[in-house]
Symmetry: D3
Subunit: 236 residues, 6 copies
Amino acid sequence: MGRILWVNPVGSDAFDAETAEVIEGVRSPEHEVVIRSLADGLPTHLEYHLHEHVVFEPMLELMREAEADGFDAAVVGCFYDGGLRELREALDLPVVGMAEASMLFACSLGHRFSILVGRRKWIPKMRDNAITVGIDRRIASFRSLEMSIPEMFEDPAELDRRAIEQSLLAVEDGAELVLFSELVPATLVERAAVELPIPLLDPGVACWKWAEMAADIYRRTGLGHGRAFGYEAPPV
Amino acid sequence: MGRILWVNPVGSDAFDAETAEVIEGVRSPEHEVVIRSLADGLPTHLEYHLHEHVVFEPMLELMREAEADGFDAAVVGCFYDGGLRELREALDLPVVGMAEASMLFACSLGHRFSILVGRRKWIPKMRDNAITVGIDRRIASFRSLEMSIPEMFEDPAELDRRAIEQSLLAVEDGAELVLFSELVPATLVERAAVELPIPLLDPGVACWKWAEMAADIYRRTGLGHGRAFGYEAPPV
Amino acid sequence: MGRILWVNPVGSDAFDAETAEVIEGVRSPEHEVVIRSLADGLPTHLEYHLHEHVVFEPMLELMREAEADGFDAAVVGCFYDGGLRELREALDLPVVGMAEASMLFACSLGHRFSILVGRRKWIPKMRDNAITVGIDRRIASFRSLEMSIPEMFEDPAELDRRAIEQSLLAVEDGAELVLFSELVPATLVERAAVELPIPLLDPGVACWKWAEMAADIYRRTGLGHGRAFGYEAPPV
Amino acid sequence: MGRILWVNPVGSDAFDAETAEVIEGVRSPEHEVVIRSLADGLPTHLEYHLHEHVVFEPMLELMREAEADGFDAAVVGCFYDGGLRELREALDLPVVGMAEASMLFACSLGHRFSILVGRRKWIPKMRDNAITVGIDRRIASFRSLEMSIPEMFEDPAELDRRAIEQSLLAVEDGAELVLFSELVPATLVERAAVELPIPLLDPGVACWKWAEMAADIYRRTGLGHGRAFGYEAPPV
Amino acid sequence: MGRILWVNPVGSDAFDAETAEVIEGVRSPEHEVVIRSLADGLPTHLEYHLHEHVVFEPMLELMREAEADGFDAAVVGCFYDGGLRELREALDLPVVGMAEASMLFACSLGHRFSILVGRRKWIPKMRDNAITVGIDRRIASFRSLEMSIPEMFEDPAELDRRAIEQSLLAVEDGAELVLFSELVPATLVERAAVELPIPLLDPGVACWKWAEMAADIYRRTGLGHGRAFGYEAPPV
Amino acid sequence: MGRILWVNPVGSDAFDAETAEVIEGVRSPEHEVVIRSLADGLPTHLEYHLHEHVVFEPMLELMREAEADGFDAAVVGCFYDGGLRELREALDLPVVGMAEASMLFACSLGHRFSILVGRRKWIPKMRDNAITVGIDRRIASFRSLEMSIPEMFEDPAELDRRAIEQSLLAVEDGAELVLFSELVPATLVERAAVELPIPLLDPGVACWKWAEMAADIYRRTGLGHGRAFGYEAPPV
């Protein structure tokens, strides 16, 4: 039995129940999940990069503890993948980024896919991440719902409606798959199954299963990210 | 309990035991593996693309049977990923390519990695695959052992020696990780752990765990490759 | 007098007359063409990649015979260029792919060009081919008529109408040239000359002339594709 | 008279004198420079990305004060450009990254250039930055002196010697220019002028002059980085 | 006090007053500008590349004189950057291209930007320039006003109207900044400030300040473009 | 019978005999060649881009006359392809660049190829051309003989020797084909056939046959380069 830490790096537990539900839908009994969010007072969502900065230290703290406790992997539960480079420099255990993992997995499911974002604000960093990962050529388009995280919470039906609408436009862009940049609500999963001609990938699903894969490989073979150069740790 | 079909698409069972061993090292008890190779008389290795062509039909047959039997995923056990496009056009269940899966997984383990090949002959198609996947920018170099598959069988110690030698050159090329384009023999795993400053990734390990991931997602959520366009099946 | 084999790799001679007509329009008297299609019972068109697989062996057979007979080049008469890699591994004589040749020729005629396809289904493989060839940056857009091959046969006037319509949209995409992914019917050639502000390139024309070029160079200088690495033949 | 803040984002003033000297060598009398480093106890160099994280907040604080004081631009005095995205999200005034500015300037001085780094550790993030900026195609090579920042301080003559040595290798790589990833010591400037066939660009020089350019444009026309999307500020 | 030569490479002084005005708006008192246009009878605008060719020789003559007179930099005042390679081969002093300089500067102001052109005719060469510079990935779109240079002169209000219109479409394309490929008229500067949500960059402003930067570095440190390879001068 | 003009754009007929010989080796009887060089006093070789500029006007004149005389195509007989854009703007008949044509043809002969140049000086412009054409990913390496054109004339045996030497190094770089950037002397053709494991492509051969192809298509179908946008002619 392995353990994986999933950090929702926000000062609110508002996402934790949905996260648990998404994970439970695909979790292998071999892996236990521990979901953690951060202390009150920290940003409650990470639409702004300055907020990503603020939550880095407490997220690192949680992961350091997890490593010390013998966890097998840790997940950055945010589609900006903020701090991935620094976390891999600090830690031996696999650190999984929700965007990196789900974009790489999506590459095996269709020739090109589109990424649905909440607001256009999100696109530049997400596109830069795709470019750094290298798979920007596989992205048919970014499509924006033009809803902030708080607006999504307030009007989940509108979120579903716009996600369907933008996904259909993504089909016109040549996407064979749509990747949402947030966990996909259960109501949207249902609508998508009926209304979309192409699959809708939940990054939470992809990221969790990726974490199980990385955790198993790490625990059983010792192989994790290479630490000879870019991820070399600071001297103690 | 899910089942995954691993096809060694050659007319010989010479690779099956090593395959089983590699898989057993990382297999989740949740997934049963069925390893199949092809009928005598078919090519015993696939260094030549014409040979890949010849083995496609029997490989497809095995996978069609697996799909009919309710398997959850199927693996092309060859680093050329021959026939991946056609198999995904034919089948609903996830089809996992050893190169595609291990290259994508490697992208999460280091900024750039090198690929060890047996002979230079192999490089053009493998590089084209990396380009099509999109991650060619992540490849530090291809390094060739200049040994054919039969030569590797004949002199496994020399294989290990050259793999170490070329891996050390890959470090000079800027690789943070080395990906071998064949299953990594247990003796080489041991030497690499001692002699290399960077990890050596076994594509069999990565590919098997990827198959478990894809199988679980497919079985539990129904999501597989998108079949609206490029992977649309021929009419019956 | 040289001879070039043009294979329409389908189990039907339905395309042969139009092929002959297109070739006759530009054929040099120096080169004789032999047009061959395949046996009844084989797929009558290649919209599906599985069908490409099925026709490979008989196409190879025809080309092997042609090589033995002293032909100077052979043409894969399909815009998917299916089997090009394998054919070049098998054969010394130049093997010309309709898409590869016409895309490379198009690069000399305009900064960016668009490719008209029958159905969206075709785009992923064709785009992958463009990426592998390397000239994807030169493609302004793919534009789909949303007609299958059988539908094109049934309603040629509608084919012409949609081709003009999509070509005009390609102009908006920035194309200086349109490349059709099928032979261009004579009626469309006429309409295009009048109704389009940019040239419409027939891949049959480009591919045939390319074959003449490759055949002449091969016959007179011996130079064909390099066979030291990727195209190295299997041992006999 | 405009003012530009140059932050050496380390907990040491060890770089400040050299910085002042480099800037004075090219400073326009129109621009006053204020050089600031950070409080004792913070990392004294930034070879590790975790250290970059630690110094971000105090660097932001200095820049916020500068903006409030009416400064015209601010400089991140480190070749990793750490926090550039976040700083531009926080601030209206131009924020100049040493790597971004000097790489973009170098693009106007030669077709390809090489970047000299202290240790291989530095390359992955610097290459990722070059990829994100987009000019990776312009980089002939990264060349490493294999000296840490402390080692450079301890043995400046060896630093010069290795910089010359690696620059000469960069010429073999096709570089028309060498860009050092640290301020160039005066002794190295002298040796380079005599011993190198190609120019050696000091990123401090390029970055300072870029800051003057950006500051002037900002002060006189109001134009700075676009803040409608990626650099949109968090709500107050 | 340094001197910079700005050449409007056309046989008309019609652009000189506006050029002077744009430069005066941002000129540092440290740099004197000398604006020169060419002899009557030469093309009065450069929409056609053949015209670029015709004006090269007299432009080179002016720059050679400037170099002999001790000028510190020279500017090609045309967004095609015609002759930049040849000028840098001929001259030691920095030669600044309006497109190259403003595109590189724009890269520091937003993740992606759009370029407004007069006519679609202009796009292929400008895109090729962006590709050669390397920053094509940073371009959200090219947007055309469909007005020739003479038409712009005749109807400046329509120019402003269309520039606003196309800039708003560029926002939809994901641009965080718009770069005009001509000097921006004062009336358009005003309208843009009010009507656009993103900045409008005048290439004249960017290019002039870039020239000051290059001139200062050249005068004070001797560093200019590398002349060992591509820019090696012909023997005298 | 068609006619093709081949311009050796230098003020010397020193290359004309060798050009004629190369062309005769592969010429179709259908096409007559007219080889022209330029007036005495013009540069005798084009290693410098300023020289390319000087010869443009007389080269254009020759091609205008050819077009008026009903020629079917014109060739720029220099591997820099100088003036290709301008010539296509001026002329309806196909204008063939030696580098563009031979690089595109080479793409059909091997996965990656190397380009042999005389001096490193040549590489930046040739690489920029490859980037603009789009096929830079297909180039394994540039390899330099470090001989100027005059030195090649003086010591042809040394030219052959170095070409063989550098071609063998190109094999190590992964080239499946070598493309020389000058006409290949007959002596070198012979040595290459014996001493190289990969083909050596003469750009004169490829370019001439390409010109025949383009000429035939132009004469028989009217199709040439698209002139709606980038190649739109100046008004008369």
